[in-house]
Every structure is written in C-alpha cells, then in structure tokens.
C-alpha cells in the first residue's frame, strides 16, 4: 500500500484510526488554543471593537476653513464638474470678502450617489474639500437623510484633525 506521494505507509498509518485521532487532536488543539488565548482569533467583534482605517482611506467629506474662519470654498464648481456621479450640488452667493468673488450658500453632497473616488479633492484648487475624516456614511432605511448639507460638511471634522487649511491658493 502506497501513499499518493509514493512513500510506503507505516503500520500506524495503515491502521487508519490512529491517524484519524491525530487529526482530531490537531483540531482540538486549535480549538483549545482559540478558547484560551483569544489573540489567535482572526475575527474582530465589529460593533464593540473598531479597527482604525488606513490613513489613505477616503471617507466622508469635510469642508475646510481659512485662518480667519471663513469657508475656503469659492463655489467654482470644479468638484461638481469632476464628479462622475453628479452628487455635488452647489449654489453660490457673493462673498463678503472683496478679494474673493463667490462663496457657497448651499453645498450638498448626496452620499448615496457618491462613489468616493476623490476626484473632487483632486479637482479643488483651494484645498476646500477633503475626504480624510475616516468615517463611512452609515446605512439607513430611507433615502432622505443621505443628502449632507453645508452645515454637516463644515462640522464634519474629526477631533484629531484641524479644520483650518493653511494652503495658499
């Protein structure tokens, strides 16, 4: 009697029941190891235990501010034009600052349509929009609550990230 590798089987292997018990022993060893030392379990208990996302993760958007506290967005519509899913809606008004032409009065992102490609961040010449919040939009049972308005986006800064951008445009 030969194994598949061509090696001659020993008597203990030919008896078969001993090998079955050995295999069961391996299973039992892993079971006991995983019961006693939970570190070797691959699963993490999601709602209680949250593993941080990688730093390049593109999550929910946030709108940045200048040093003087005004919103950086100049309503130039480049992000809305670059968006492949047309999820950005902007309405402009005249900016109170005479050096700047416009600022947004409505800036809405439909999280259902958004494909999180980051094209809006790349298109923005003012560093006004970023996707580094590290949050993902939570599921809902209806479509209504997914349109995030300007109040939400300007307050969407995580606690460890600055809401002021010092970029020069």
């Amino acid at each position: 009697m030969q194994s598949q590798a061509g090696r001659k089987l020993r008597l203990s292997e030919r008896v078969y029941i001993l090998e079955v018990l050995r295999g069961l022993g391996v299973t039992a060893r892993h079971f006991i190891e995983n019961i006693l030392f939970r570190k070797s379990i691959a699963t993490f208990q999601y709602p209680e235990e949250k593993v941080p996302f990688p730093p390049t993760f593109r999550g929910e958007h946030r709108l940045m501010f200048r040093e003087d506290g005004s919103i950086r967005c100049t309503a130039c519509m480049l992000c809305a034009t670059a968006c492949p899913s047309e999820c950005i809606y902007i309405e402009a008004k005249e900016s109170p600052d005479p050096k700047i032409e416009k600022c947004p009065v409505r800036y809405e992102i439909d999280m259902l349509k958004c494909v999180f490609c980051g094209f809006c961040v790349e298109a923005c010449p003012c560093d006004a929009i970023r996707m580094d919040t590290g949050k993902f939009p939570l599921p809902e049972t209806g479509r209504q609550s997914f349109v995030k308005d300007i109040n939400y986006l300007t307050n969407n800064h995580p606690s460890d990230k600055s809401k002021i951008s010092s970029a020069i445009y």
Binding site: T43, Q45, V115
Partner: protein
C-alpha cells in the same frame, strides 16, 4: 363572586398582554432577525466586499446572517451587491419573486442605489435597484466597507424588530 370575576378579568388581561399575539409576534421577529439567511448572489465588485464580510475577519455569522443559501426558496435576505445591468435586472426581479416571504433586501453600494459612476453615461445600467424590487436598507459606499455592510445588517435587524405583523 365579584372577586372571582375580577380575578378572571385580570387573568384574561394578563394573558392578552403577556401570552397572546404580542409575545408570539416578538418571538417570530426574534427568530427572523436572528437567522437572516442571505442568497448566494453577487453581481460585481461589491460582491467581493460581501465575501470579505462573510469571511472570518468580519464574519457576519455573528449576527445569524452567515448561511448563504444557493436557492432563493430558502433565503430571507437578498444583498444586491454590484452593478445591476438592465439585462440582469429582470433576473434580480425574478430571484426576488422566487424568495419566500418574509424577504428583505439590502442595496449595497452606489451602483445598486442609483447607478453610481454609471449614472451619467451608463446606457446599460439600472439607475437604482429599487426601481424593480423594494429595498429595506441602503448601504452607501463604493464599495462599502465590510463594517458598513455589518451596520446595514444591524439596521435591518432593528427594522425587523420594530415591525408589526398585521
């Protein structure tokens, strides 16, 4: 004698409150939300993320949703994961009709919810699967993180828990 009558009334009221329909409904809902068997069914890249949710790192079996059925007759939950093309939409609708009641649908990803990146120029893509089948939970993302799908399952369980039966 009146005491007996009042006791009987109290007993009937107690039974109405504690034994009869409410508890049975609660039990049925608990059984349903603890055994959401999904249909083995994926359409595009979101399905890869759905498989990751089913694998050991995220493991949706912890919420009772981990027995993917190969037949729509045995499935409760349809996770529509991936771009629904117009050709596939008929099949999705057929699969949904073949599932036995009560059935639930999770729309996973932007393509399923309203076309996603194909919204502008996708001549072949259904702009939202809720045009053909009713959707219970919307999970945004492209594709959603496995955590987001788990949140969607938890949301669906909350929805089932709150649902009244006739």
């Amino acid at each position: 004698m009146e005491i007996l009558f009042s006791m009987a009334e109290d007993f009937i009221a107690w039974g109405r409150d504690h034994l009869l329909p409410d508890k049975a409904v609660e039990l049925a809902q608990w059984a349903r939300l603890s055994s959401l068997w999904p249909l083995t069914f994926g359409l595009a890249c979101c399905a890869i993320e759905m498989m990751a949710t089913g694998a050991s790192r995220y493991d949706w079996d912890r919420f009772g949703a981990g027995v993917p059925r190969a037949s729509p007759r045995q499935a409760d939950l349809m996770v529509v994961a991936g771009t629904v093309t117009l050709k596939m939409a008929e099949r999705v609708k057929l699969l949904h009709e073949q599932m036995a009641d009560p059935k639930y649908v999770i729309a996973m990803g932007s393509c399923v919810i309203n076309g996603g990146p194909y919204e502008k120029h996708g001549y072949h893509v259904l702009k939202g699967v809720d045009l053909v089948i009713p959707v219970d939970v919307y999970v945004p993302g492209c594709p959603p993180r496995p955590e987001a799908l788990l949140e969607g399952i938890l949301k669906l369980q909350d929805k089932i828990r709150g649902r009244k039966i006739a």
